[in-house]
């Protein structure tokens, strides 16, 4: 018997399942870039005041230092480094959030190769 109550119940069930499916779908990775968090602009490249504790921990784990110990291997010539954009004072890194010194270094340094 196809009553309105049945219709609503079925619709809700389907909706729930669709939602579940969508949840699983999104859990599988939709290839979309997660929305970037709006970081506070740093006052200097050592200023981590706008950075979460987790991100600070990450840069520590990756061995980031503001002055490279290895001659000619520094963030400035690393392929993971992004130079400062317009109106930006500091560069950034693909591996963790926050400002980066161009003379810095981390243990994941990957040299820019010719043509990059």
């Amino acid at each position: 018997m196809n009553t309105r109550r049945h219709f609503i119940k079925n619709a809700m069930s389907l909706g729930g399942l669709l939602l579940g499916g969508a949840f699983i779908f999104s859990g599988c990775g939709d290839g979309q870039k997660p929305a970037a968090t709006k970081d506070k602009k740093p006052t200097s490249c050592s200023d981590l005041s706008g950075i979460s504790a987790e991100e600070k921990d990450k840069r520590k784990k990756l061995g980031y230092v503001e002055k490279s110990p290895i001659p000619d291997s520094k963030c400035g010539n690393c392929k993971l480094y992004l130079p400062p954009g317009k109106d930006e004072h500091c560069g950034s890194c693909s591996l963790f959030k926050g400002p980066i010194e161009v003379e810095g270094y981390c243990t994941y340094y990957a040299p820019l190769t010719e043509g990059e």
Binding site: L14, L17, F25, P34, P71, T107, Y108, P111, E116
Partner: protein, 706 residues
């Protein structure tokens, strides 16, 4: 009921479509199927030596002097194991029936935190396991280590991909290890009173027979190949082969060089690899995002998702005898992201201080080994007593630093998929059958070990050399001298020379003979050994005249160890021959005798006065930088007196000299604050150098008070 079923079916469909990513990453192949997927160049074949469950996650394999095969298992990668829960270990693999396949596996040492490399030593194994270098030994004959001591400690330990690793015994009696320049303060068990050695920026080398340890030029990552003459080549993720040019002990003789970097990418080919496997989904997606970022930043930069070296690993020098002769001296490098093995042929020329690494003719458009199986991860290699080339396949679904992958992309990645698997392959001639080797060198007489120096499989020579160093059996000195003087094989002569060195049995006479050796490779080491004999300075000076570039580089470096008036003119002579080469320039500048105003003066009075190729502006700049950085008043005064010399005014040298001096002076560690302020002010005016600039510089030098 039917409606409920329909709804469930619809939801399942949605889920299946949505979860297509379950198929993003193919599953593993059995060892047999994986072997079938491996394609090697014509004339060779690949056989399976060992697979799970006998071995998993292999990263390093070495054979001891009796042919026992040890494998380092690195199960904890990519994460750091909790103390007490380490899964990493070392196994002994045994082929008891001689069929070429391992049939027995024994855990030699368990609970190993991030072990990555081993080296046989005195009946046991040296093991790199950051933050330590350990020594483990089985004293009961059951292949289980029952002693474990820490020899060196204090190395960096927070990135399993870039830690102390790749132990290699060099013909010069030093054991070399890559440290990737990581920070650390290293202590040695046998020298408890010695201050910790900061290894920041360097690789590492040590001698257990002499209790020595020191910094070495790098940085090497995972892969260190030492050739028969101890030329050193290192692997880095995206630069698959680099040569170390000048050892650390020379580049740091004084602290004033503008740069001490002395490592060279020697590949003559594009960093392209011929990848046959599919691009993993996460990688394609990550690259897309990164390139998007580059475009947003308006960078002229492109990241490649495939076909370019990004996971080069385990560069190994092949000096065995089971493969055809053309493979001898090649360097094999794994590429774990491309699921392939790359081969380089090394070539040298008399005009170059470094080798050139070329693709072989048959591999211009393909790789030495490739597989379409994404799980094939050739991380390292080994050459053993049987002379074959072994390939260590880590066999993991993913091999990447998790932190470098965005969270949403790695949500469905299992970084330990395959940690229960691992394969070791043997590369051999296509028409050949496996020939087992059964060395028992531990029981061999010292005299018979000396005879192994010219063995066609240099594994035997290297083991014999090491055993003789360990034994300190000086009764073989006459036999060593005989091999040194009479062997037709330069490799054997060099082994003999260095075992004599290990026995303190060298003298000026023997080294003088070595300086006259027919092989430039032997001569190069003789030049190093001659540094200990002032009486041999004339022989070194004589070599400057016609030594090829690579030998001349060592002569220039070694001459800098002598405190004699003939050194500077000899270094000028080296510049007259090879001054165009940046490494030669650094070698000259690395010594005090090659980096003073007197050096510049002598160069300006030489045939190079108006030669901008062999006395380039960059050398004038760097030499001036050193003079400024040294901050010695007498030298500063002598420097400014050279500024108006005709040869200094030639081709903008003067401007380069002034800039160099001011740059170096400003960075001097001995400059006082007031003077530094004045030097910085002068630096600000160097965009336009004229007579006034020179006057100001002279006044500044004259006003210095020390």
């Amino acid at each position: 009921m039917r409606n409920t079923f329909t709804l469930l079916f619809a939801a399942l469909l949605i889920t299946l479509v949505g979860c297509k990513n379950k198929e993003k990453y193919p599953g593993p192949l059995t060892p047999e199927k994986a072997l079938e997927s491996i394609q090697v160049i014509e004339g060779l074949k690949v056989e399976l030596f060992a697979a799970e469950p006998l071995v998993t996650d292999p990263v390093s394999m070495e054979f001891d002097e009796d042919g026992n095969c040890y494998v380092v298992v690195m199960s904890d990668y990519p994460n750091k194991p909790e103390p007490g829960k380490e899964k990493g270990h070392i196994r002994v693999l045994r082929d008891t029936d001689g069929d070429g396949k391992a049939d027995t596996s024994i855990v030699f040492a368990g609970k190993l935190s991030e072990g990555t490399s081993i080296l046989p030593w005195k009946g046991g194994l040296l093991v790199t396991a950051a933050p330590e270098i350990l020594y483990m030994k089985d004293t009961t004959g059951d292949f289980v280590a029952d002693t474990r001591e820490v020899l060196f400690s204090g190395f960096f330990k927070d990135n399993p991909e870039t830690q102390i690793t790749n132990l290699r015994f060099g013909v010069d009696n030093w054991i070399y290890a890559n440290n990737r320049g990581q920070d650390g303060n290293v202590t040695y068990k046998e020298k408890p009173g010695t201050p910790p050695l900061s290894v920041k920026g360097a690789d590492f080398r040590f001698r257990l027979d002499r209790g020595l340890f020191e910094l070495e030029t790098g940085p090497g990552q995972f892969g260190q190949a030492l050739d028969d003459y101890r030329n050193r080549f290192v692997t880095e993720n995206s630069i698959h082969i680099q040569q170390i040019l000048i050892p650390w002990r020379y580049t740091h003789r004084h602290a004033f060089l503008p740069s001490t970097r002395s490592i060279k990418n020697i590949s003559d080919h594009e960093p392209i690899m011929f990848q046959e496997s599919a691009t993993p989904w996460w990688r394609a997606e990550r690259t897309k995002r990164r390139n998007q970022e580059f475009q947003e930043k308006k960078l002229k930069r492109v990241e490649y998702e495939r076909d370019h070296f990004t996971g080069a690993s385990g560069g190994t020098f092949y000096n065995g005898d089971a493969l055809p002769k053309q493979f001898y001296g090649n360097i094999f490098t794994g590429e774990v992201a491309g699921n392939l093995v790359h081969r380089d042929i090394l070539t040298s020329s008399p005009d170059s201080v470094y080798f050139i690494a070329k693709r072989p003719a048959e591999e211009v458009k393909r790789e030495f080994i490739y597989s379409k199986d994404n799980w094939f991860r050739p991380v390292n290699f080994s050459v053993g007593p049987d002379g074959y080339l072994y390939v260590l396949d880590y066999y993991r679904q993913h091999i990447e630093t998790p932190v470098s992958i965005p969270d949403d992309l790695k949500a469905d990645m299992d970084f330990y998929a395959g940690s229960d698997k691992g394969r070791i392959y043997r590369v051999m001639p296509a028409g050949g059958t496996y020939k087992k080797a059964t060395p028992v060198l531990s029981k061999a007489s010292s005299d018979s070990l000396v005879q192994l120096f010219s063995h066609p499989n240099q594994w035997y020579a290297s083991q014999a050399h090491r055993l003789l160093v360990e034994r300190q059996d000086k009764t073989v000195i006459p036999a060593l001298q005989k091999v040194f003087r009479e062997s037709a094989d330069p490799r054997a002569r060099l082994h003999a020379l260095y075992v004599l060195e290990a026995y303190d049995a060298l003298n000026a006479g023997i080294v003088k003979e070595a300086l006259a050796d027919s092989s430039n490779d032997v001569k190069e080491h003789a030049v190093i050994l001659a540094e200990n004999y002032t009486a041999l300075l004339p022989e070194l000076l004589a070599l400057v005249k016609d030594a090829p570039a690579k030998l001349a580089l060592q002569v220039a470096l070694s001459l800098g160890q002598f405190n004699a008036p003939q050194v500077t003119p000899a270094l000028v002579q080296v510049m007259e021959r090879f001054g165009y080469d940046r490494t030669i320039q650094m070698a000259v500048l690395s010594s005090n005798a090659g980096s003073t105003p007197a050096t510049l003066d002598a160069l300006f009075k030489s045939s190079l006065a108006s030669d901008s190729t062999k006395l380039p502006n960059v050398f004038v700049h760097d030499c001036s930088y050193v003079i400024g950085n040294r901050n010695n008043k007498a030298q500063l005064q002598q420097f400014v007196s050279l500024l108006e010399q005709p040869a200094m005014v030639f081709n903008k040298r003067q401007a380069n000299a002034i800039k160099g001096l001011v740059n170096g002076w400003e960075k001097s560690t001995t400059i006082d604050a007031d003077l530094k302020t004045k030097v910085t002010a002068l630096k600000g005016k160097l965009k336009k150098i004229n007579g006034e600039t020179i006057t100001q510089l002279k006044e500044l030098v004259a006003s210095t008070k020390y």
